[in-house]
Symmetry: C2
């Protein structure tokens, strides 16, 4: 019912939703077509590289969006606990309180193919996705590690805290898929300030850790 164009941002948003819940292999062109309202061939007009290109662009775009919305507040010298809590709220919104999976998880499977014979042309496209995932992960780690560093952790410890905090969130999202219970995700978010900055005891929370 809409014979005219669809906005580029809207288009990628729709694609993102499919990849987030189905993963790379699970997201068929029919799914992507249905979600966007565009026919398969129209998708190929915008993404000549096919599904692999769609996936890579989705990952890059989401990575940028998350950096802007959630982590930009952290990029000055000394983030406060309140600012880290705000990042937690942004992440809660982004993941719909844990109900939506993370692209880093759902897109990081696959790829026993394409490594077989000599370098095919689309091998580069496949690596594009892997590179986008790795880049987004590193940016996330560095954003969190920056917070830990500002709180006084040395470089190695800062990176460890960042990785552990991310792992807690990613693992909670997996758990949520399995149990339907978002409590673990909520705890991982609530723990974010102390996980990164150590025990600042500026809030009333004590618990283990």
């Amino acid at each position: 019912m809409a014979p005219r164009t669809l906005d580029d941002d809207d288009l990628l948003d729709r694609l993102t939703g499919v990849f987030r819940s189905a993963g790379y292999e699970g997201a068929s062109l029919s799914d992507l077509s249905a979600a966007t309202g565009l026919q398969r061939s129209s998708l190929y007009h915008r993404f000549p590289g096919g599904k692999a290109q769609m996936a890579a662009e989705v990952v890059r775009r989401v990575g940028n969006a998350v950096m802007d919305v959630a982590f930009a507040p952290l990029e000055h010298a000394h983030p406060t606990v309140a600012e880290v809590q705000a990042v937690g709220r942004s992440l809660s919104t982004f993941y719909a309180d844990g109900a939506i999976s993370c692209l880093l998880d759902t897109m990081s499977l696959r790829d026993h193919a394409s490594t077989a014979a000599g370098g095919t042309v689309d091998g580069a496209v496949d690596n594009e996705l892997a590179d986008a995932l790795a880049a987004a992960t590193q940016r996330w780690i560095q954003a969190f590690a920056g917070v830990a560093s500002a709180a006084g952790a040395d470089q190695g410890e800062a990176r460890a805290r960042a990785e552990d905090a991310i792992a807690a969130i990613e693992g909670a999202l997996v758990l949520r898929r399995l149990t339907g219970d978002g409590a673990a995700f909520a705890r991982a978010i609530a723990r974010l300030p102390t996980a990164l900055m150590g025990d600042t005891r500026s809030t009333k929370r004590s618990r283990r850790n």
Copy 2:
């Protein structure tokens, strides 16, 4: 070159390897056939329910194996720190120091299909997989929660500690897929005793937490 039978345990082991690295959608019958040395039709002879049945049996079998090997030592009244550390070592082996993904993660995606029209027959098979995943998850949570309870945590806190410890492990496995670095996984395993039992300070480790 082996026209005769393949042992049932071996067969499921081979299938497990494919599902672990490729996920449900990513594991094709060709992959499963190649990994087992059996033709597609032979696989159907053993698993009339097809891929869904293979997946469900794999999940159930792995769930049982993990319970036996790793968690059985915990099923008496008061597990010791050393015993929990031993569980960590078993898990490290099971996950090849983080290099192998967890079935709970890789198999818990998918399934926008089969819910469409009226109840088809194979809808039950699909739920079989989801049920197997949920059951394995609950058994894991309860095994860990038992440790926390024995260490003095009340019921809610025990379950929270168990879920958080599992999330830390699952998230570290995701991170390892993304970065190729197993350090986060090693830390999640090392933290297991204190994560479940609180700060027993019986080892020299202090750190945050």
